[in-house]
């Protein structure tokens, strides 16, 4: 039976083989590393992923998952094996507990409760503390004598705040500050996209901006971070959170990541964030450079 060039038998063969090829390509033995949907999460997750790959393990990246809720759900369903989480976020957004400013205490609490409730293990945390902050320009700080949050709380009626939507809603955002310090009744509050917030500050459209202490933009002399004198804000140390089952099967994961985490300091974080946000660097490149030392 003459057949056209793409013979029926060959076509059938290709189709039958495809699922086999698929099985090999989409590797079930790969460790799935997740990240949330902001720059720093990407960078740290990349560091974890590349560290594991450097130790000879196969890694599948499920980055850009979305919010904390989505990441936790993904972990619970077993779609993701590990991801970078912050002690503060875990405390407040996941466990719905009040903030703990002391880094060690915060870590101990979340580690214990995550193990209990989810079977997730917190590996060694990094010194990096990505907590919240308020920032202002050096000019305004010196001009109005602002060094602490208490100063800002009092001077608020003369100041314009630039912030993101989340800051106004979360319990440890503006509402929490108002309760903890009193005051903080700003003359004007405007929300911006997370990328444009600092520009408003630098262009004089706002006087104070909400911030994260590892934001790359702060790494400049023009901006100043105000001191949390009442220790309102929680510690936000990052650590790999791993599914218990994964850790039991691959204990080397702990060894590899515990070696890397201590190297992630505030300064390293700011530098990496700045590289990605200002210089449009690829998080993968930034992470690789970090790991090289």
């Amino acid at each position: 039976m003459t057949a056209p060039a793409l013979s029926r038998r060959r076509a059938l063969g290709l189709f039958a083989a495809a699922p086999l090829i698929a099985g090999c390509a989409f590797d079930p033995s790969a460790i799935r590393v997740g990240s949330k949907n902001f720059t720093e999460s990407f960078v740290i997750a990349e560091i974890y992923a590349q560290a594991l790959e450097g130790a000879g393990m196969r890694v599948a990246r499920l980055f850009n998952l979305g919010s904390t809720q989505i990441a936790i759900a993904a972990m619970q369903r077993g779609n993701v094996d590990l991801y970078p989480e912050y002690t503060g976020t875990a405390l407040i957004d996941v466990l719905h507990l009040p903030p703990i400013a002391d880094p060690a205490a915060a870590y101990a609490t979340v580690a214990r409760l995550f193990k209990q409730r989810y079977g997730f293990v917190w590996l060694t945390p990094s010194p990096m503390n990505d907590s919240q902050a308020l920032a202002t320009t050096r000019a305004i700080a010196e001009g109005k004598g602002l060094t602490t949050l208490s100063d800002v709380a009092r001077a608020a009626p003369t100041l314009r705040l630039a912030t993101i939507q989340e800051f106004l809603a979360r319990p440890d955002g503006l509402p929490g500050l108002q309760r903890a310090y009193g005051g903080f009744q700003f003359r004007e509050v405007r929300t911006y996209d997370i990328a444009l917030k600092y520009r408003a500050l630098l262009e004089g459209k706002a006087d104070v901006a909400s911030a994260f202490t590892t934001d790359g933009e702060i790494a400049t002399d023009a901006l100043v971070v105000l001191k949390d004198d009442r220790h309102f804000w929680s510690a936000y140390n990052v650590a790999p959170v791993v599914r218990g089952a994964t850790l039991s099967a691959r204990p080397a994961v702990a060894r590899v990541l515990d070696a890397v985490s201590p190297r992630i300091t505030d300064r390293a974080a700011r530098t990496m964030n700045a590289a990605v946000e200002d210089r449009q660097a690829d998080p993968a490149d930034v992470a690789a450079e970090f790991l090289r030392g």
Binding site: M1, T2, A3, P4
Partner: protein, 263 residues
């Protein structure tokens, strides 16, 4: 080889879209080796009746008996492999060569490769085509006349004991058609195959038939040898049909056909 007998026993076929029966209570007996022509205008039911024999058309009442076996109780696929079938559009398989087309029924019946190849060559010669030239041709490279010859070759390839033909020479010019008709008579009498042949062309009917079955509106008007139709039409319709055109011409051909079939 013994040619098969074909018998229609009160056959009725209904099509839902029509307000009358396509075939209405037709009874007809065809002896082995006869070449019977179903003659009538389009829509008279002749093609439908033809296709009940190999079960391409299901019947709503009555039976068709091939060698006194009710075809309704046989496996249709096996039945069709033993009955030759040729249609006006020919329907040569475009994705196969001429040889593969001609050899299709033998191949379905499990003949050996060499047997099939030999038979194909034999048939191509029988229908007047040089095997060396035509064996590997594709249907798209054939003229109308060549295609219809190959259609006939395909229909008789497995030496069927019965042959069904639906206006197989309809789509070619009159010169080619005449030649094909002459050859068909020769082939069919050599092969001793019972043949049921459908046409609307009265002259073709007279040229080929041992008996002609005139049909109208799903019923048989008359079934008789050509001369009988001529000399003794059963109805006004038959008379008009047969006597239209040139009488002498028709007489001549009817006689010529009879001479061809002399014992």
């Amino acid at each position: 080889m013994n040619p098969a007998s074909i018998r229609f026993d009160n056959v009725t076929v209904r099509y839902p879209a029509m307000d009358r029966n396509a075939v209405d209570g037709v009874s007809l007996a065809i002896a082995g080796g006869e070449l019977v022509v179903l003659l009538g205008p389009s829509g008279c039911g002749k093609s439908t009746l033809l296709r009940t024999v190999n079960r391409l058309v299901p019947v709503d009442a009555g039976r068709i008996l091939v060698d006194e076996s009710d075809v309704g109780e046989l496996d249709p696929v096996e039945l069709r492999r033993r009955i030759g079938y040729a249609i006006q559009a020919v329907g040569l398989f475009a994705n196969m060569s001429v040889a593969q087309n001609v050899g299709v029924v033998p191949s379905l019946l499990g003949w050996k490769r060499r047997e099939i190849a030999a038979r194909v060559d034999e048939l191509l010669e029988l229908v007047g085509l040089d095997p060396a030239i035509y064996r590997d041709r594709r249907p798209s490279a054939l003229s109308g006349g060549e295609a219809q010859r190959i259609g006939v070759a395909r229909a008789i390839a497995a030496r069927p004991r019965a042959l069904l033909m639906d206006e197989p020479f309809g789509a070619v010019d009159v010169v080619v058609r005449t030649a094909l008709q002459r050859e068909l008579v020769r082939i069919v009498s050599e092969l001793r195959t019972t043949t049921l042949f459908v046409t609307h062309d009265v002259e073709e009917a007279f040229r080929l038939a041992d008996r002609i079955v005139v049909m109208r509106d799903g019923r048989v008007e008359q079934a008789a040898a050509p001369f009988e139709l001529f000399d003794d039409p059963a109805t006004e319709y038959v008379r008009r049909l047969v006597h239209a055109g040139d009488d002498v011409y028709r007489r001549y051909f009817a006689r010529g056909r009879e001479l061809l079939r002399a014992p």
